[in-house]
């Protein structure tokens, strides 16, 4: 471009380029100016979606609390249903739900923890472990009503448990097993490898290391999973419909071979097939409130334990 200054059209050329640059600059600026409000708009949308979720939770809980609270009193919590389920309390349901959820945990916890120990501490990557993980993932995705069908065909019919607390406990145990395995594995993973190495270096065997070093360190995490599992089992309806639950029982279950009343099933029956659906609304609200308090209380407990744990780890 050494000859450019002498070119007669040089100024025109230069003028054009400058003009062109200026116009793209204006465009760029417009674009830059526009993209900031667009980002603000999008971020508002994201916040709105969170608010919507929070609102859904708040509305459902608030609604159950608002209508349920007047129905809940000492008699409601401690008495049996009366007058063909249109009055009285829900004591047998509370007891049944607690028995079902804790009973299923009694089965699923040792089983799930052992499986997690195998997967995390013993297993070498290979086809067996691959198949295991696939099976556990798929087990987690099986619909709860299919668990109910399985429980009906296997525990109730083939194992001759009948529609009973025991059959319900086993069915629910299979349902919460993947959750327990996942939580336990997570807990084992968070135990520092140096703990294991230190113990092994002192001459401990693998089992001694596990029992005396790794498991104590992982206990709070496993406990969190167990609490979440109990909450899940307590709220489950479809899996116990054909395996454990009954609509009305004049007396409390005497053994694990008796069928039980349960809170979620009680709500379902009262709300859809009760004798007088409108008249028993207060009972339905009250039962829903008790169930929500039970389940969300469990979850809150787990969340608090985990938050403590994370603070300690940090």
């Amino acid at each position: 471009m050494t000859h450019a200054p002498t070119h007669p059209n040089a100024n025109v050329f230069r003028g054009n380029t400058v003009q062109h640059a200026a116009s793209t600059l204006v465009q760029d600026q417009k674009f830059l100016q526009r993209r900031k409000p667009f980002q603000t708009f999008m971020f508002m949308l994201f916040r709105a979606s969170v608010v919507l979720n929070a609102l859904a939770l708040a509305v459902i809980c608030g609604f159950v609390l608002f209508y349920g609270l007047p129905a809940v009193n000492w008699e409601f919590l401690t008495a049996h249903p009366r007058d063909a389920m249109t009055a009285g309390g829900i004591f047998p349901c509370i007891l049944g739900t607690i028995a079902l959820s804790y009973g299923s945990m009694l089965i699923a916890l040792p089983w799930g923890v052992c499986t997690a120990i195998y997967l995390h501490e013993y297993a070498r990557p290979g086809p067996f472990v691959h198949a295991m993980r696939l099976a556990i993932n798929n087990l987690a995705g099986v619909p709860s009503v299919v668990f109910g069908l399985f429980g009906l065909a296997f525990f109730v019919t083939l194992m001759q448990m009948g529609v009973s607390l025991l059959a319900g406990m086993f069915t629910l145990a299979a349902l919460i097993l993947p959750l327990i395995i996942g939580a336990s594995e997570e807990a084992l993973r968070s135990v520092s490898q140096t703990y294991r190495e230190a113990s092994l270096a002192l001459g401990a065997t693998k089992w001694q290391t596990l029992a005396k070093v790794v498991l104590p360190a992982a206990t709070p995490g496993i406990l969190t999973g167990a609490i979440l599992g109990i909450g899940r089992a307590a709220g489950e309806t479809a899996a116990i419909m054909f395996t454990a639950a009954m609509f009305f029982s004049p007396k409390l279950p005497g053994s694990v071979f008796d069928s039980v009343m349960a809170l979620p099933y009680h709500i379902y029956v009262l709300a859809t097939a009760g004798i007088d659906i409108e008249k028993t609304r207060p009972l339905q609200y009250g039962t829903a409130l008790v169930l929500i308090v039970l389940v969300l209380g469990m979850n809150l407990l787990a969340i608090i334990i985990r938050a403590r744990l994370q603070r300690k780890l940090r």
Partner: protein
């Protein structure tokens, strides 16, 4: 001597752990076996294609009709519609949690999503029956508020936590170098999110979406209580439907033991199980084949 017995003990215990792990596979197999054992006898009565594509479901008539196409259509319609609501909602919440929220907001919103996940389905169904149904009925002047739309809305809020938590993990694990590079080039945070972070976490997000849909299609209590229960192929958004889980749960109590009706319900469970199995295997396949990109692979 002591060392030997210690070692022996170790071997035995390792074997015990392996056995308990193996039992998990057996449970899944047992579920499959018993669904098939109780479901397949129906195919002696009804040919498979008539069962899958028959449009009439009159299990108590004589002769009975066992066609589950209306249930399959109901399940797909409810799942599809709820996904339309749940996918954007769940994804946006996930992006908010991992990209926008301050640590403090995160520690508030995350438990909130978990609580939403923990809500018992029967309570959500109850809410749909008592609050959403009358609202829909009055607002749109419908014959019944228990319909496809109601069920889809309720299901959406059950799928959102699944979608949010899994896709949040995926977005969170996008290496920070990618974000920094994009921001250093002058991109805004939104441009970084939409053109760098989201594409990089797409496999994880797809897994999340599929698992969310799998949860919707298998959910029972909500569709049992609010979907309306009419065994017909839906023609509009406000038609009552009867998805597969609802059909099983509603009729199992009245189906005589080992009758054709009983076997038909197990066969419906079989179809439902195969649907969710396909969703889950697809999700696992995506998660495995399309491992999330790290910095070094870019």
């Amino acid at each position: 001597m002591i060392t030997l017995s210690r070692r022996k003990k170790d071997t035995i215990i390792a074997g015990a752990f392996q056995t308990s792990a193996g039992l998990c596979i057996i449970v899944l197999f047992l579920i499959m076996i018993f669904l098939f054992v109780e479901g397949l006898p129906l195919l002696n009565v009804v040919p498979p294609l008539d069962f899958l594509f028959g449009t009439a479901w009159y299990p108590t008539d004589d002769p009975a009709d066992f066609g589950i196409l209306p249930m399959i259509a109901g399940s797909l319609a409810v799942t599809g519609l709820s996904s339309v609501i749940a996918i954007p909602l769940g994804l946006m919440t996930a992006v908010y949690l991992s990209e926008i929220a301050s640590p403090r907001m995160r520690s508030v919103v995350k438990p909130l999503v978990e609580m939403l996940q923990a809500l018992p389905s029967v309570v959500i169904g109850f809410f749909g029956m008592v609050v959403v149904a009358p609202f829909l009925q009055q607002t749109f002047g419908l014959a019944t508020g228990l319909n496809l739309t109601n069920a889809a809305i309720m299901l959406a809020f059950m799928a959102v936590p699944t979608i949010t938590s899994i896709s949040e993990d995926a977005i969170y694990s996008v290496p920070n170098e990618l974000r920094e590079a994009s921001l250093a080039l002058g991109a805004t945070r939104w441009q970084t999110i939409s053109r760098v972070v989201l594409p990089a976490s797409l496999p994880g997000i797809s897994t999340a979406v599929i698992l969310g849909m799998s949860r919707s299609i298998g959910e029972t209590m909500v569709v049992l209580m609010v979907a309306g229960g009419a065994a017909m192929i839906p023609g509009s958004l406000f038609d009552p439907v009867r998805p597969m889980p609802a059909s099983i749960a509603a009729e199992m109590a009245e189906a005589p033991f080992k009758s054709d009706h009983y076997h038909a319900l197990f066969a419906t469970g079989m179809v439902l199980f195969i649907f969710t199995l396909m969703f889950n295997i697809l999700a696992a396949w995506i998660a495995e084949k399309k491992k999330q990109v790290g910095v070094s692979t870019l």
